[in-house]
Amino acid sequence: MTLLDIQNLTVEYPSRHGVFKAVSGASLTVEPGEIHGLVGESGAGKSTIGAAIMGLLERPGHIAGGTIAFKSDLISGLDAVAMQDLRGKKISMIFQDPLTSLNPLLTVGEQLMETISLHLGLSQNAAQQRATALLERVGIPDPALRLRQYPHQYSGGMRQRVVIALALCSEPDVIIADEPTTALDVAVQAQILDLIKDLARERQVGVILVTHDMGVIADTTDRVTVMYRGEVVESGTTAQVMGAPNHAYTKSLIAAVPRPQVKLKRFSQISYGGRETRFAIEDIARNWTRVETQADTPLLSVRNLEKRFPIAKSIFPGHSTYLTAVDDVSFDIMPGEVFGVVGESGSGKSTVARLISGLYPLDKGTVEFAGQIVSDPRDKAAVMQFRRDIQMIFQDPYSSLNPRMRVLDIIAEPIRHHKILSGSALTKRVHELLEQVGLGAAAAAKFPHEFSGGQRQRISIARALATQPRFLICDEPTSALDVSIQAQILNILKDLQDHLGLTMLFISHDLPVVRQMCDRVAVMQKGRLLELQDTETLFAAPQTDYTKELLTLMPHLEGLSDEGLDI
């Protein structure tokens, strides 16, 4: 019997500017034991479908047409009380961010037992036993002790397991997982996806897996529905949709996914719907003042970097405990090279970037740039010149731009700081930069909130290029972006390297992206540099067990169509 049957679902958000259709005419079904992937980019309406099933649409959103049936009973249009009876009991939901999904002030046990008592009406003791069993089921060691702990005492992956345990409290028939692994490391992601697969197989739970990650879709789901701007554009078995897509959007979406197996010259960009934006690298290159460097000496060398952060401060210095975030890290980066640093969260890769750029003071070690020591804050002239020569692009395009500043001032700030230009020459320079990154000079008068994530990252790039740097530090520059936007930004970075000879430190947790972008890769774990190899060697013949493990955990994307790839 079909568990969930959605027919012609339309969800509307009325507003003063007219009615916004978040979902229009979407149909999909979920069978017992099936994992149904719902894929699309942000704004495609995939999460809205999940919320509509649960009856949790944010006001003023409502179901304007179509039906949702659970085990052939109509559930769309049920009143709040009937819906509340269904929620958590028959249909459960897992949210994206395990760090914010749990109430920080209640113990994990309290939250589990509350939900268990509600749905199953068990006594305190029985509920506690069931809670312990559930934690054990989702793979949390020492569950009896863990019940008494608060969410902040759990790691991110553990919290997502708790979230899944909460969703399983009353043996639901359907689980809607909304981006369940987006906020997690690859190793943890693989474990959580395995857990979801096990649930589907063993307990015949139907799962709707909402994600933007094609790797997760390819490795986990049985069937897949592709959405674009509220509409279902294609649907079928995962092998068929991923291997031989029919619709032009699906084709371009799949082509934009970074591949772990082969290195491409450029990323294929999504041409569907006319979303490609120009990037005038030739214009930038024409006006660029290159500083000649010797090709055989390193441009940047770091020696024995160390950084410790206090975890628990004490009045007596000897009693404070520290976390060594970066431990004796040394490497050289040659001119024109893209140097990758990979590792899980907490491996210290971002701290390395901040130490090099001087955002954190060093505890030990030296940074040398173009033959000069730049890690001594007392040598102001060297530090100033170095700051002009290196620029950073950050991960989150939302928090890395000051929301109260106009784009003009954001991009002009580094130029003003280094007193390179002023007055109308400065304004002209900013307008040129905006034209070159494809936003147009008119963007200068706007504020950051008027731009999408991809456009903001272009503003970040324009800001980074403003001082004509020789070295770029990119800290997870595309992790917060959709695949198609990611492809555009990565192509821009490739262009910068090819045409301007920029040297880059590229930090990422995404191994396929690293394979596409980097010449050499350093693998970090717990603050230490484990392995440093040419990219191709690292992927073909990893030396350490940790690297081998990381490589096996990355999505393999074997069934993906090769159509439109620039190999």
Partner: protein, 320 residues
């Protein structure tokens, strides 16, 4: 946890030392008390005698040390105007102010939190809109006007409640209380509301906005997705999270209820320390002013200490 408490107490001690210094400095910098205490027909011998008697001829540091030592023992000096020990005068007056402040605080916190929750949960309801509009009037009217309006309505027109004084009080060995007699309780109502109204609206608005913020959080959405009842979501999950930021502001507000009871006490002729302070300022009665300053700072520091401890009690993240 223990080291946290020790650190907080040490910080509180430091604050009190600094306030003590400021209070003591008043003796030296706000006019010469001898001038105020002796009439125009004084001789140099009178002045010298009083100066020695009050210890004003000794070096600054010695005076400060004596002042602190005496203050710790409860000896806050002699009022220049009344010629009686300040500690005695304050002990007479403090119960009136403390009882008034307690009633106002209970009113402000109780009603403020309840209305805040109500207006957050029923954010689009008619009653909520009315409450929010009325509260705006409550914030914008000055305290003395509210007091006068309440007196006019409930004392003059309706003649339900007394318009001034504490009513009948019972003496419990040095502490006079109005809680034990009907007229004492009645007398507390109007000044209590007058003093607490502003804090009540403030707390209400704060609780409302914090609660609305909390209700948007992922864990509330997840709780709803688990099928928990609205009651459990609002009162078990949302309320506790709302309280953390509310406690800080509320603590500071309670301090100011005591510190700024002056206006209400004036309007209602309430025989509390506020009225005492006003009189002390008029007559440059520095020992009384200094003692009042110390008393208020002790209360603020104590309230802050309690707020810090409450934080830790509510939020497990601060315990580790």
């Amino acid at each position: 946890m223990f080291s946290f408490l020790i650190r907080r107490v040490l910080q509180a001690g430091l604050v009190l030392l600094i306030v003590g210094f400021v209070a003591f400095s008043m003796f030296n910098f706000v006019g010469d008390p001898i001038d105020n205490m002796l009439g125009t027909e004084r001789t140099q011998a009178d002045i010298d005698r009083l100066r020695t008697q009050l210890g004003l001829d000794q070096p600054f540091v010695v005076q400060y040390w004596k002042f602190l030592a005496n203050a710790v023992e409860g000896n806050l000096g002699v009022s220049y105007r009344q010629g009686r020990p300040v500690a005695e005068i304050i002990a007479e007056r403090a119960p009136a102010t403390l009882e008034l402040a307690t009633v106002s605080a209970l009113f402000a916190v109780g009603v403020g939190v309840l209305l805040g929750i109500y207006t957050a949960i029923r954010r689009d309801g008619l009653v909520s809109h009315i409450i929010m509009s009325v509260s705006l009037i409550g914030v914008s009217l000055p305290t003395f006007l509210i007091g006068i309006l309440l007196i006019y309505l409930f004392s003059v027109e309706l003649d339900w409640l007394p318009s001034f004084g504490r009513g009948e009080v019972t003496d419990l060995g040095g502490w006079t209380t109005g809680f034990l007699t009907t007229s004492g309780l009645k007398a507390l109502i109007l000044p209590g509301i007058t003093l607490g109204l502003f804090q009540m609206t403030l707390i209400m608005r704060l609780v409302r906005s914090e609660m609305l913020e909390v209700l948007r959080q992922d864990y509330i959405r997840f709780a709803r997705a688990r099928g928990l009842s609205e009651k459990a979501i609002n009162f078990r999950h949302a309320l506790k999270n709302t309280l953390v930021p509310v406690i800080t502001v509320t603590g500071l507000q309670l301090g100011s209820i005591i510190a700024f009871a002056i206006i209400t006490e004036t309007v209602f002729q309430w025989p509390g320390v506020g009225l005492l302070f006003i009189n002390a300022v008029q007559f440059v009665d520095i020992p009384v002013m200094a003692a009042y300053l110390m008393l208020i700072s002790v209360m603020f520091v104590a309230i802050n200490l309690i707020v810090d401890i409450l934080y830790v009690a509510i939020d497990p993240r601060l315990r580790s």
